[in-house]
């Protein structure tokens, strides 16, 4: 498999990979799987009815990782992929996904990834996802990631998703069904600039006693960009749910946050915190007294906020 320099750079941006990784991986480039490796415990099987793969992790698999980066460097390519993860009971693994689009042409490049996680009893996973776009072409770079999560009893999932640059339009859908004693944590970080638009919809169902979740969204909207954060949390058992949306708004951007909490059980405890505001003036002043210009100070505040 030979990657050109654009593809190599995309791979670096989304997966911090400069070479093929150790452990299991599946690299998808311009709509096709181009490299794959399995291990004794982790199998990757292409689907035969639709594009995508099944990632099957044996029960008890510990300290292993799976990389599944997607890169698109062809202008005008529309890529749709279904990836299903079956994470065996008692396993402890890290999954690193990510999608990079480089579009230098006139056609819109689109990646729609539908990821479904079946996390077995007492399994523990960390899922890291990074979205990145580049290219000077007129064609847009569009991404619509959907993540569907089924957490079985006592399981644990920590998801970190980042979209810092270059995606014109995004609609993110995240749905979770959480069974007893399971825990879900999602940290989402989004920066939009120019005329970019990002919408993020979360639906979390806390279904079993003792389960909990923590959804944290950090957003920075610059220039004329638009962001919409919609979080619905349903507490259907003796559970605790926390969601938080914290946004920095700049220039002429527009930010909306719409939290919805519904409890159908007396013992459910749900909290949502939402804040939208500009960068605190005193933070800029403090950094300027250290010798930074106002622009440099802004960059520092944003970089910290999205860390």
């Amino acid at each position: 498999m030979i990657l050109d320099s654009i593809q190599k750079n995309l791979l670096h941006e989304v997966a911090e990979l400069d070479a093929l990784p150790a452990g299991a991986y599946n690299l998808r480039s311009n709509g096709k799987g181009v490299a794959r490796q399995t291990t004794a415990n982790i199998d990757i099987v292409p689907k035969d009815d639709k594009p995508g793969i099944d990632i099957i992790i044996k029960p008890g698999t510990k300290k292993e990782s799976v990389h599944i980066p997607v890169i698109i460097s062809e202008s005008g390519l529309k890529d749709l992929v279904y990836n299903d993860f079956y994470i065996g009971e008692d396993s402890d693994v890290t999954i690193i996904a990510g999608c990079g689009i480089s579009n230098c042409g006139g056609g819109d490049s689109v990646h729609d990834g539908i990821h479904t996680f079946h996390v077995g009893k007492n399994a523990k996973i960390r899922y890291v996802e990074k979205h990145y776009g580049e290219g000077e072409g007129r064609g847009k770079r569009l991404m619509n990631p959907t993540t569907i999560i089924y957490l079985e009893e006592g399981s644990y999932m920590k998801m970190e998703t980042t979209q810092i640059a270059g995606i014109d339009d995004t609609l993110r859908e995240t749905k979770a069904e959480i069974a007893a004693d399971a825990y879900l944590e999602i940290k989402e970080k989004i920066l939009t600039t120019g005329n970019q638009q990002a919408r993020s919809n979360f639906v979390t169902n806390l279904n079993g006693d003792g389960c909990s979740c923590n959804i944290v969204n950090r957003a920075v909207a610059k220039e004329n960009s638009y962001q919409f954060f919609d979080s619905t949390m349903n507490g259907n058992a003796d559970c605790s749910g926390h969601s938080e949306c914290d946004s920095i708004i700049m220039d002429h951007a527009k930010v909306a946050a719409s939290p919805n909490l519904t409890a159908t059980c007396e013992d459910a405890s749900l909290i949502h915190e939402a804040a939208i505001g500009k960068i605190a003036g005193e933070q800029l002043i403090k950094l300027m007294t250290l010798g930074l210009t106002e622009e440099e100070a802004e960059e520092q505040v944003i970089a910290g906020f999205l860390r």
């Binding site: 914290d246 605190a280 005193e282 933070q283 002043i285 403090k286 950094l287 300027m288 007294t289 250290l290 010798g291 930074l292 210009t293 106002e294 520092q300 505040v301 970089a303 910290g304 906020f305 999205l306 860390r307």
Partner: protein
Amino acid sequence: MLTLKNISYEAEDNEILKGVDLEFGDEFTVITGPNGSGKSTLTKIIAGIIKPTEGRILWDGEDITDLSITERAKLGISYAFQQPVQFKGLRVRDLMMLAAGKDAKFNDICDILSEVGLCARDYIDRDLDGSLSGGEMKRIEIAMVLARKTRFSIFDEPEAGIDLWSFQNLTYVFEKMRKLINGGILIISHQERILNIADKILYLKDGETVCFDKRDKVLPLLLDNSANGPCSILKEKMGE
């Protein structure tokens, strides 16, 4: 080094500073005076954080009244806030590195943190947010100014929130710093122990200079026992 000429500041029809004339050199000056007398306002005007409604500020004879905060910081003015600013996601190491500048070594930063009584290992990766205690924030605020090593350093009530045990150490830090930077230090304080190490004391009241002279001249006035002395409020503050 720093000259203030006829500095006035008005906000919402209040005259907060009333035509103050001052000259600061390479010495250790402590500003004291009742709450609301305009001490913080005066030092913010020096750092460029607020613009005076009238008057000029000179740095080595050059007019810097219209320079920005950044430009004054680059000239060599540093400012430790009375109320340290909190950040989301920025860590102690980030701010310390920014303060110390590009060429600073990580070890130097750790040394400075230990000077203000913080074990670098425990604090360097902490977020500068509400999770730090008031005293810890205050120490880091001081450390940032120490790290800058500029010719003129301002500390606004550095002792506030610092526990009694560490207080003595803090006075050593200021004395050591003065030797190191070979420049001017300006500290706003209500503490006799800080006043005791000053070269000069400026007593400010209602936005005006009551006295500004060598410590030996001003201190007896401030500690004057007569009930109607100029500084009864100050004495209360110092628990006399």
